[in-house]
């Protein structure tokens, strides 16, 4: 384990950015997790991958960063707790700037690799089927599909601003993959294991290791193939499905009720068939908020 960056902290020990390195030479892969301190499925998945890499030396270099935002994780907070800044909105960073800007600059420099992966959980109020978010075409799409995660979500250029790590990697000419799975604040062991298997398949595809795990993809879609169900009004949302469930048109996805008294306000039914990839976990919802996403082109 190497400390690639550290900075003095008041009242406690220094902040340290840790890197685990396995193997040497090319190709080089960097996998980052825990940039948001309340999203630790990625940390668990990366540590599972580390165990596999201890048993099987890779033919190339794998850099793992299991937990970037240690201070945030200590407090179950997404952002850097001192000034509430999001590290993932601070790229490319500044080695002479604020603590968060220095961490961002150090992380970008330390992840100088051919293939880079940033692993997140879903937000604390939603649960996401493990997925890789990739561009509509090109080498990153090929790599993302090779992960064999349950969902491959091909997306246009949105959310790729250079202030985020994915955008900064792309600006630096690296192949960047954005992986999301499970829910923030909680540890989803099953989803973490799924992500770890996807990371192994990626390394196998790049020729760094072997794996016998078969692909687990159940949906490979674009935005147009995803049915988004939002709350028509505020209330208390009770889901009737879990992520990964297959549904047909008309399937009951959940219902909204009055928070006090429980009168049912209305039901949410699938407009298309497919796989449930996102489910609202925190039940108090505002109007227009995302409740369920269904990925699939069946019976539209």
């Amino acid at each position: 384990m190497t400390v690639v960056f550290s900075i003095e902290a008041p009242y406690r020990g220094r902040y340290e950015l840790h890197r685990l390195t396995f193997g040497s030479g090319s190709p080089r892969v960097a996998i980052v997790a825990g940039m948001h301190g309340n999203e630790l499925n990625g940390m668990h998945a990366v540590n599972m991958l580390a165990a596999a890499l201890r048993a099987q030396r890779p033919k190339g270099t794998v850099h793992l960063f299991p937990l970037v935002n240690t201070f945030g994780a200590d407090e179950a907070r997404k952002r850097w707790p001192f000034d509430d800044r999001d590290i993932n909105k601070s790229f490319p960073g500044d080695p002479d700037g604020t603590a968060v800007q220095r961490i961002a600059a150090a992380l970008l420099e330390a992840t100088d690799a051919d293939i880079c992966v940033d692993v997140h959980s879903g937000a604390p109020h939603v649960r996401e089927l493990p997925q890789v978010r990739v561009p509509l075409s090109g080498r990153e799409l090929e790599l993302g599909r090779a992960m064999g995660l349950p969902l491959t979500w091909r997306r246009a250029g949105a959310r790729l601003e250079a202030t985020g790590l994915i955008g900064a990697w792309r600006d630096a000419g690296r192949h960047a993959l954005h992986v999301v799975g499970g829910r923030g604040i909680t540890l989803d062991t099953g989803h973490s294991a799924t992500i770890a298997r996807g990371l192994k398949r990626l390394l196998a595809h790049a020729g760094l290791m072997r794996t016998a795990d078969p692909p687990e993809t159940v949906a490979d879609v674009t935005r147009a193939d995803i049915g988004v169900h939002r709350a028509p009004t505020g209330g208390f949302f009770v889901p009737e499905v879990r992520v990964g469930a297959r549904v047909k048109p008309g399937h009951l996805l959940g219902y909204l009720q009055m928070p006090i008294g429980g009168d049912r306000i209305g039901e949410l039914r699938a407009r298309r068939g497919g796989v449930v990839v996102t489910v609202r976990a925190w039940p108090m919802v505002y109007a227009q908020e995302l409740l369920v996403r269904v990925a699939g082109t069946e019976d539209r």
Binding site: P10, F82, R102, T233, I265, G266, A287, Q288
Partner: protein, 349 residues
């Protein structure tokens, strides 16, 4: 069940609805430093709801607008985009109180949005609660987005076409700041107007990477007024900014200069600066920063603006020095710092 006024049919044509709620009583009660205080619950004829956010528990949070005067010429004054800037809200109400008494003298319309982010202001936090989102990074917003994005869109829709937009803020969190007007670096007209805002500095500022999603950026000639102390009221600064807003209305020709609550000669003559004249002073060490320089005091190049001490032993770790000679525009008042944390801004003439 009674349908909410703004509930709408979903894609299946089913109307979802719940009971409606009224505007919270006493919404416009003002603080003691204001010259006119409305009794809680008193009727407010000029009050409109720009948008009303329904909360999951059944309550509502309205974003309101107060309108004074009439006519096509329209000046907009907006405060409370973030919930940790009560100074701006106080100034908006002070200006509103004056305009209410002198509405018959207005040559045009003045719209005041006293608090664009009521739920954040309710908590005293920068971000919109639950979504933990900075409203000032969501403009121009989305009509079908989550509530903060809807508010951003509603504000833009309502303000579109205004001749002049003035945004009122407080100081940035953890800092005390001299009163200042911030305008876009390439907008000569607003820079010239801002010289009448009764502030210490007019800062022609280059937009940063986040600027396109801010409120002020949606209206190119907007003037942002700020100062005081982060998340606190600073009476002197609040009075200066309120007088400055009224003086801006005079220079825009919307308000006559007779009967103003200040003499024209009392209006400050600000220093006009660009980014090149505003220097950040950063901590080299982590610890507790103890400021020694006062706001708007002079500092020489190499002069000490504060000391960083070890938080456990009290031992001095660093004397933080200004690299330039000038005046202290902002100084950190929350003492905990990391290496690289900005502790002061010094502005040069």
């Amino acid at each position: 069940m009674e349908a909410r006024p703004h509930s709408r049919p979903d894609s299946e044509g089913v109307r979802w609805g719940r009971g409606a709620h009224g505007l919270p009583v006493g919404l416009l009660a003002l603080d003691r430093a204001c010259r006119v205080v409305r009794a809680p619950g008193a009727a407010v004829a000029d009050l409109s709801r720009v948008i009303e956010i329904e909360l999951p528990s059944g309550d509502t949070a309205p974003v309101v607008r107060r309108r004074f005067g009439q006519g096509e010429r329209r000046v907009v004054i907006a405060a409370g985009i973030r919930g940790d800037a009560p100074e701006g809200i106080r100034v908006a109400h002070r200006v509103g109180a004056y305009l209410e008494e002198h509405e018959d003298r207005l040559s045009g319309t003045v719209d005041i949005f006293p608090c664009a982010n009521p739920l954040a202001a309710h908590r005293g936090t920068r971000n919109w609660p639950f979504f933990d989102t900075d409203l000032n990074r969501l403009f121009p917003g989305k009509e079908d987005g989550h509530p903060p994005a809807q508010v951003a869109r509603a504000l833009c829709n309502d303000i579109a076409g205004a001749e002049q937009v003035i945004e009122l803020r407080g100081a940035r969190p953890a800092f005390s700041e001299a009163s200042q007007a911030i305008v876009r670096h390439d907008h000569d007209v607003s820079a010239e107007l801002a010289m009448h805002a009764n502030v210490s500095v007019v800062w022609r500022r280059q937009p940063g990477p986040a600027a396109p999603a801010t409120f002020a950026h949606q209206f190119p000639g907007s003037i942002v007024l700020e100062g005081g102390t982060g998340n606190r009221l600073t009476t002197g600064v609040g009075n200066d900014l309120a007088d400055g807003v009224l003086n801006l209305l005079v220079h825009l020709g919307v308000l006559p200069d007779e009967g103003l609550p200040f003499h024209w000669a009392a209006i400050q003559r600000p220093l006009l600066v660009t980014d090149a004249q505003v220097h950040r002073v950063r901590a080299e060490r982590g610890g507790l920063f103890l400021p020694s320089g006062a706001i708007w005091s002079e500092v020489e190049a190499g002069g000490v603006v504060g000391t960083i001490i070890d938080p456990l032993t009290g031992e001095a770790r660093e004397e933080v020095q200004s690299a330039v000679s000038g005046r202290i525009l902002a100084i950190r008042e929350l003492p905990v710092v990391f290496p690289g944390t900005m502790v002061a801004r010094v502005v040069t003439a």
